[in-house]
């Protein structure tokens, strides 16, 4: 099989399309690159979904934590503490355990109707959900920190102009919060993508040998008994992914800071603040 044929046969293998049987003998470098690359689709899926949903939930959590109302603030504080304070793999275990032993396939709602829950035990749903919960907590802490450092002068100016309530939040606090929190949030995004490798490694079962980049790397390391090729390939893909992320987030950062005089613009500095 030429390398191009390998690409055609396997590039969507991680999603269940193309040739089903994985290579078992005469594994070439090309096989490894293509299949591990195919697995990266899962890492992208988990990362992008959790990031998009987590962003919205994190903003809500950050606002709740900054709230004066105790019944809003306390649950947010506890949520953030528990998800930031425990290793991700324990969270995976507990979520999987809850889905498979407590929900057990379907949930009966007051005897009126039943909700099927078996699909939740699949990685595409359960693991994505856990990652979403996890990244929400970390991002919320970042945005909360940023919200607390919004310059007082900005708020006083808003008061002076008579901007209050919702307007004050959306026109003054929100953009500044994003701007201040962005460098740290970039780090969180990078770490979230790194964390997606844990899904099949210690959390959820792989169905029909459809797994992420690390799953296939593990498969090849197991078949070839050589860890020095497949794992560095994963590393290579992730370095590229990280560089792309830094570039993309840097562009957004520029846009967020476009009103500032050019020498004041904070270059995106990768300080791992508030990360996993």
């Amino acid at each position: 099989m030429t390398c191009w044929e390998t690409v055609q046969a396997y590039w969507l293998r991680s999603l269940g399309f193309g040739q089903n049987a994985l290579p078992t003998t005469d594994i070439t470098l090309c096989d490894q690159f293509v299949l591990i690359g195919s697995g990266m689709l899962w890492n992208l899926y988990f990362g992008l979904l959790a990031l998009a949903l987590g962003f919205c939930f994190a903003i809500a959590l950050a606002l709740a934590k900054a709230s004066h109302r105790k019944w809003l603030r306390k649950p947010a504080e506890w949520y953030i503490f528990i998800f930031r304070g425990s290793p991700l793999f324990i969270q995976f275990f507990l979520v999987y355990f809850f889905i498979t032993t407590v929900l057990r396939g379907s949930v009966d709602v007051f005897g009126l109707f039943t909700i099927p829950t078996a699909w939740m035990a699949s990685a595409w749903a359960g693991a994505a959900f856990t990652l979403f919960l996890n990244t929400s907590a970390y991002s919320a802490e970042i945005f909360y920190g940023a919200l607390m450092t919004v310059p007082r002068g900005d708020l006083e100016a808003a008061d002076a102009y008579g901007i209050t309530g919702r307007d004050r939040f959306f026109r003054i606090e929100w953009p500044t919060m994003l701007r201040l929190g962005w460098p740290a949030y970039t780090n969180e995004a990078i770490f979230l993508f790194h964390a997606t490798t844990l899904v099949f490694f210690s959390g959820f079962p792989a169905f029909q040998q459809r797994g992420d980049a690390l799953y296939y790397a593990n498969y090849f390391a197991d078949k070839t008994f050589n860890p020095f090729i497949s794992y560095p390939i994963v590393a290579f893909y992730f370095i590229i992914l990280t560089l792309c992320l830094i570039g993309l987030f840097g562009l957004i950062n520029q846009r967020l800071n476009r009103h500032l005089p050019s020498h004041q613009k904070r270059r995106i500095r990768l300080r791992p603040q508030l990360i996993r």
Partner: protein
């Protein structure tokens, strides 16, 4: 002066080596009844007892060390230990990279276990441990393979309805049956039995272990030991 010191240090070192290095044997410690960690926190199991007896017969001093299953072969090749006794079946794939001693168990039967005996095994969802010969067998059979990191999780998946059946070594499944879970269908013979994994270049050590295994097969002590650990459920040599 420095050179002299180094030379003395090296001689001292060499002397230590001449007094027969212990043979280090890698095992997993999580595959009942082959190898496990008992309540004293020590390695125990069929292979540990067997290994110690083999070493006694071969006149070797042996130490068992724990290693994660995933990296058990790379660490052998890297020289962190000299042999593997971890319920590792002899397969053609593995024989390409490492050497095996003579097998010390007969080709081990793998079987399916499920909550009901009429579960179809070639179409439903079948659980197995990732990276085992059973996982490869299920993947090739056309059934829907669900891979777990440990064999316990694979069994648990059948109990809570994630999978219709689990495929694993029959010896392991026998320790897990009960509460509705039962072994069904015909046994599948995979691999050429279990042997000691060795580096290809260690022909001397292989010869010693082979001789010891042969002597245990000849005087019936291997059958007796297997009988003890597998509660009579085994194929004698």
């Amino acid at each position: 002066m420095k050179k002299l010191l180094l030379a003395t240090a090296l001689t001292a070192f060499g002397a230590g080596i001449a007094a027969a290095d212990p043979v280090r044997i890698g095992t997993e410690g999580a595959y009942e009844p082959y190898n496990l960690i008992n309540d004293k926190g020590e390695l125990d199991g069929f292979e540990i007892v067997l290994g110690n007896e083999l070493c006694k017969r071969a006149g070797l001093e042996c130490i068992f060390v724990k290693n994660d299953w995933d990296s058990i072969i790379p660490n052998l090749q890297s020289g962190n230990y000299d042999a593997i006794m971890a319920g590792m079946s002899i397969t053609d794939e593995r024989r390409e990279k490492i050497a095996f001693s003579e097998n010390y168990t007969q080709p081990s039967p793998s079987s399916y276990a499920a909550m009901s005996p009429d579960t179809p095994i070639d179409s439903g969802v079948i659980a197995a441990q990732v990276g085992t010969i059973q996982a490869a067998h299920v993947a090739a059979s056309g059934a829907q393979l669900l891979e777990f990191a440990t064999p316990d999780e694979a069994v648990a998946a059948v109990r809570n309805g994630q999978a219709a059946a689990v495929m694993a070594d029959e010896d392991f499944l026998l320790t897990q049956v009960g509460d509705g879970l039962e072994i069904f269908g015909e046994d599948v013979l995979l691999g050429d039995g279990i042997g000691i994994g060795l580096r290809k270049s260690d022909t001397e050590l292989k010869a010693k272990f082979d001789a010891a295994i042969q002597s245990m097969k000849a005087d019936g002590s291997l059958n007796k030991l297997t009988d003890e650990w597998f509660a009579g459920n085994y194929t004698p040599f």
